[in-house]
């Protein structure tokens, strides 16, 4: 994304103009724009004119419209799902992610009445201006992050098991499943394994075709083939046997980008496991990427939960309590919480993040478009690793006893800030 223009006043109100360039930028915009914000972007609107004789004439006009966002819909470029069986090759729309924002028009315009509803379909390479009454630190961080240069840590991944595969593309903030493959493979039977082998061959062919279609391997950093058992090796061997047979030079040149990683189950959620797996050089090549850090941190949280339950807290109330006591060492928070439609709720989390950061602790905002973020969402979307052990029950009991006192303390803390 490119930052075209930014004007933020002392009272944090103001506007930012951005030019989205790729799929991921749509995701950033989706997270930046909140209900109630003003959005200005080019739009195409059908305008009907009635002439004096009563004949109507409608035109499609390209206009710049400003509207109050009231509803947003984000859809990544993905194949939602596939049938239960059958050589399903359902593919998503070929275009990338899309974000549409609807709401009443707020700008005066010759052809559009004020207050008329419109739906903006944001397009790449078209500037969009976001006007907010308050730009908080989380939003500004996101703007800064989304405009960083050269953050494209693009990785392709094929997570597979016998007969099933998910072909994914990972970028810094998004995991997109481009295709789910589900090829029925008859199991071996007494005396004959030919049907099993035929099924397998068909499965490998489907993966190869999908790889060519969905994974731009020449522009990616790494392509991960992950599976339990030996499927990953067979798939890898098949891909390069096919590439050699058909003389696909581009693919053969990309050979060193392919990594085989062992995971314990063929489901997409094993991606987290694949990304943090030490067995490949993944960690060296991808250590700095967001999804690898998220995976590692989530893993550390779960491990902490196992080894020292009192230092791993989750759930909004609990984490807020821990923050009050200055116990948080690392805060794991999902971007979904900031997307709350109630501004007060969002403010609560923004303040939490700011206070935790102010105490020098680490804050990791998980993207819910990644598997790790999904898993964090399932455990309420917020978790913390504490610097010293605290017993939830004791803290809660103390809380109840000293509620009044604590409220004062909180007020004092807020004043300090």
């Amino acid at each position: 994304m490119k930052l075209i223009n930014k004007h933020i006043a002392k009272d944090h109100s103001g506007h930012v103009t951005l030019r989205p360039e790729e799929d991921e930028d749509m995701w950033h915009l989706y997270n930046l724009i909140q209900e109630g914000d003003l959005v200005r972007a080019p739009a195409i609107r059908r305008v009907t004119n009635v002439s004096s004789t009563g004949s109507t004439d409608s035109q499609r006009l390209r206009l710049n419209l400003t509207l109050t966002a009231s509803k947003m819909h984000f859809s990544p470029a993905a194949a939602p799902s596939s049938g239960t069986a059958g050589t399903s090759t359902s593919t998503g729309a070929s275009q990338g992610a899309s974000l549409s924002i609807s709401g009443p028009v707020q700008s005066q315009h010759a052809n559009v009445t004020m207050g008329a509803y419109h739906t903006l379909d944001l397009e790449p390479h078209r500037d969009v201006r976001i006007i907010k009454e308050e730009w908080d630190s989380v939003s500004l961080d996101r703007v800064a992050e989304s405009c960083k240069e050269g953050r494209g840590a693009d990785v392709g991944a094929i997570v597979c098991g016998e007969g099933t595969a998910a072909v994914c593309l990972l970028s810094e903030h998004m995991t997109v499943i481009r295709q789910r493959i589900d090829v029925p493979i008859p199991r071996k039977r007494t005396g004959s394994a030919t049907m099993h082998e035929k099924g397998l061959a068909r499965f490998y062919e489907t993966i190869y075709a999908s790889l060519l279609r969905h994974i731009p391997f020449s522009s990616l950093r790494v392509v991960i083939i992950a599976s339990p058992g030996f499927v990953k090796d067979s798939v890898y061997d098949h891909i390069f046997a096919e590439a050699t047979r058909t003389g696909n030079k581009a693919l053969l040149q990309a050979r060193n980008k392919f990594l085989r990683v062992h995971i314990s189950s063929p489901h997409v959620h094993s991606l987290v496991e694949a990304l943090k797996s030490p067995e490949a050089s993944i960690t060296a090549q991808l250590k700095e990427t967001k999804f690898a850090r998220e995976g590692i941190m989530l893993d550390r949280f779960f491990k902490m939960l196992g080894s020292d339950e009192m230092r791993a807290w989750y759930g909004p109330e609990d984490v807020l309590l821990a923050a009050d006591r200055g116990a948080i060492g690392t805060l794991l928070i999902s971007d979904e919480l900031f997307r709350a439609s109630d501004p007060a709720v969002r403010k609560k989390y923004v303040q939490l993040v700011e206070s935790v950061q102010g105490k020098g602790a680490e804050v990791l905002t998980f993207s819910s478009m990644h598997e790790s973020g999904q898993q964090l969402n399932q455990i309420t979307g917020i978790a913390a690793i504490l610097t010293f052990p605290l017993d939830v029950d004791i803290v809660k009991a103390e809380e109840a006893a000293h509620k009044a006192a604590l409220e004062e303390e909180q007020a004092a803390a807020e004043e300090e800030q």
Binding site: T84, A85, G229, L305
Partner: protein, 486 residues
């Protein structure tokens, strides 16, 4: 005219040609009972057995050799396997090749999927499920174990090998816990590769002691555990100990052989009166002229079926008609609970069928669930289970991602009384009531509706009410379905 023509057409739309149902349900039930009684009089019983154990314990080799020793595999086949395995430089795997049929299994020398075979001893007819031992193929092993009445555990007696399988993270341990959780209560332990420890009685007793304690902890009754020393490669003590290599063993062992022990296993009671349930383990296309079309196989967990019957296919809204029933490659008019069958179906699109699909009577369908309450026993885990934990749910041959959405209560294992409501975490070896939801992938855009799976509460059907939870390649809990919510 047009209307007439249309009507004509409508009338001609035939029901998929179905073979006539031979006899009524009541009559059939009578016949099934008479057959079972007759077999009981003769002392012949059929049951299924799953072969389990750590990777490279010699499960497939033992089974392959046993099949040969019992005359199920001819010399011609044996010699062919020996030659071919030698060519690949894997001569030691020649016995296993009888069960490891696929090219990949043979090249790698590892069983990757359950092989189904059958053999008979004087008083028993066995369906044997040779499970893979490698930890990555535990889903396949679970699929096999959920079709079994009893288990044959194979352990490697060689120094260090037994310990590798029996230590934490070894499959000897995990397999035993799994089969017990899936309702298997009888186990025969074959202590294999005794030749590598020069038939040492001391080693045999050491292993026996260790396993006995663990088996009892796991919940096997002491009188339902049997031990036997064997040498699978040499064929020692499978059906006899007449081999020259077995001299050292004969000196101290005069107990039953493996075949003797198998011959006295008792099958559990068969639920022939309950509604028919058939969870599928395989779907394929029949290729012979008699048996063509869509074929499915699985083990009938309850009820009876007959040729010509219409069955519901769940999940889904389709029905199919049974054309042919095959049991042990013989066409039969009917089959009853407990038998492993292959059915040829008509009137159904194969897209509707998959591994994990359940066939049942249209009048008495299995409920579909995407959310349910289960009572679980948590195993020896490092990372506790919290609300929202992602797990893999195993139910028969099905393996799907799920989420533990709520921890309802920790309970007393024996009587189910609540110890603590809404616990924060579940740590190792507690029993708890939890809510499980089948997971949907919201990552790829719109939250697709979770695909419900056929499940029944445990009090309705024991067979379809058992579940297993795994995470990161480790079995974390086993349980039973208490209530189907949605």
């Amino acid at each position: 005219m047009a209307a007439l023509g249309l009507q004509d057409n409508e009338m001609r739309v035939p029901e998929p040609e179905s073979p006539k149902i031979a006899i009524s349900k009541e009559k059939l039930m009578g016949e099934v009972r008479r057959t079972i009684e007759k077999e009981a009089l003769e002392g012949i019983k059929s049951l299924s057995i799953v072969v389990i154990g750590h990777v490279d314990a010699g499960k497939s080799t033992l089974m392959g050799h046993l099949l040969y020793a019992l005359g199920r595999v001819g010399d011609k086949k044996r010699i062919a396997n020996e030659r071919a395995s030698e060519k690949l430089g894997k001569a030691s795997f020649s016995w296993a090749w009888e069960l490891d049929g696929t090219q990949e299994e043979r090249e790698r020398g590892v069983t990757m999927d359950v092989a189904i075979q059958s053999f008979t001893t004087p008083h028993r007819r066995f369906t044997v499920l040779d499970a893979p031992g490698h930890r990555d193929f535990i889903p396949k092993m679970i699929s096999g174990a959920s079709q079994a009445d009893c288990a044959l555990l194979v352990v490697d007696a060689a120094a260090g090998e037994f310990e590798a399988g029996f230590d934490r993270g070894g499959q000897t341990r995990e397999h035993l816990v799994l089969v017990r959780s899936l309702g298997v209560s009888q186990v025969v332990v074959a202590i294999n590769k005794m030749d590598q420890v020069s038939w040492s009685r001391q080693r045999y007793e050491e292993i026996m002691g260790l396993l006995q304690t663990f088996l009892m902890q796991t919940g096997f009754a002491v009188q339902r555990i049997q031990f036997v020393p064997v040498g699978a490669m040499l064929g020692v003590n499978l059906v006899d100990t007449n081999q020259p290599e077995a001299e050292a063993l004969r000196k101290w062992y005069s107990g039953p052989t493996l075949a003797d022990l198998l011959d006295v296993l008792t099958p559990p009671p068969r639920l022939i009166e309950s509604p028919m349930r058939l969870p599928l383990t395989n779907v394929f296309r029949g290729q012979t002229s008699v048996a063509s079309g869509i074929a499915v196989s699985g083990r009938l967990s309850s009820g009876i079926i007959q040729v010509g019957e219409r069955v519901s296919v769940l999940p889904g809204d389709e029905t199919a008609v049974i054309k042919i029933i095959e049991v042990e490659e013989e066409s039969v008019p009917w089959a009853a609970a407990g038998s492993s069958v292959t059915l040829y179906l008509s009137g159904i699109d194969p897209v509707q069928l998959g591994i994990g699909t359940v066939l049942c009577p249209p009048s008495d369908p299995v409920p579909l669930a995407s959310s349910f309450v289960a009572q679980i026993v948590v195993f020896d885990i490092q990372v506790p289970i919290i609300a929202g934990a992602s797990v893999e749910l195993f139910h028969h041959s099905r393996d799907i991602p799920a989420t533990v959405t709520k921890l309802l209560a920790t309970v007393e294992r024996s009587n189910g009384t609540v110890i603590k409501a809404n616990p924060r975490v579940l740590t190792k070896s507690v029993s708890a009531k939890i809510q499980i939801n089948i997971r949907t992938s919201t990552m790829s855009g719109q939250a697709a509706r979770a695909m419900p799976i056929p499940l029944e509460p445990f009090h309705v059907s024991k067979e379809l009410g058992r579940i297993l939870l795994r995470r990161n390649g480790e079995t974390i809990a086993a349980g039973i379905v208490l209530e189907v919510l949605d």
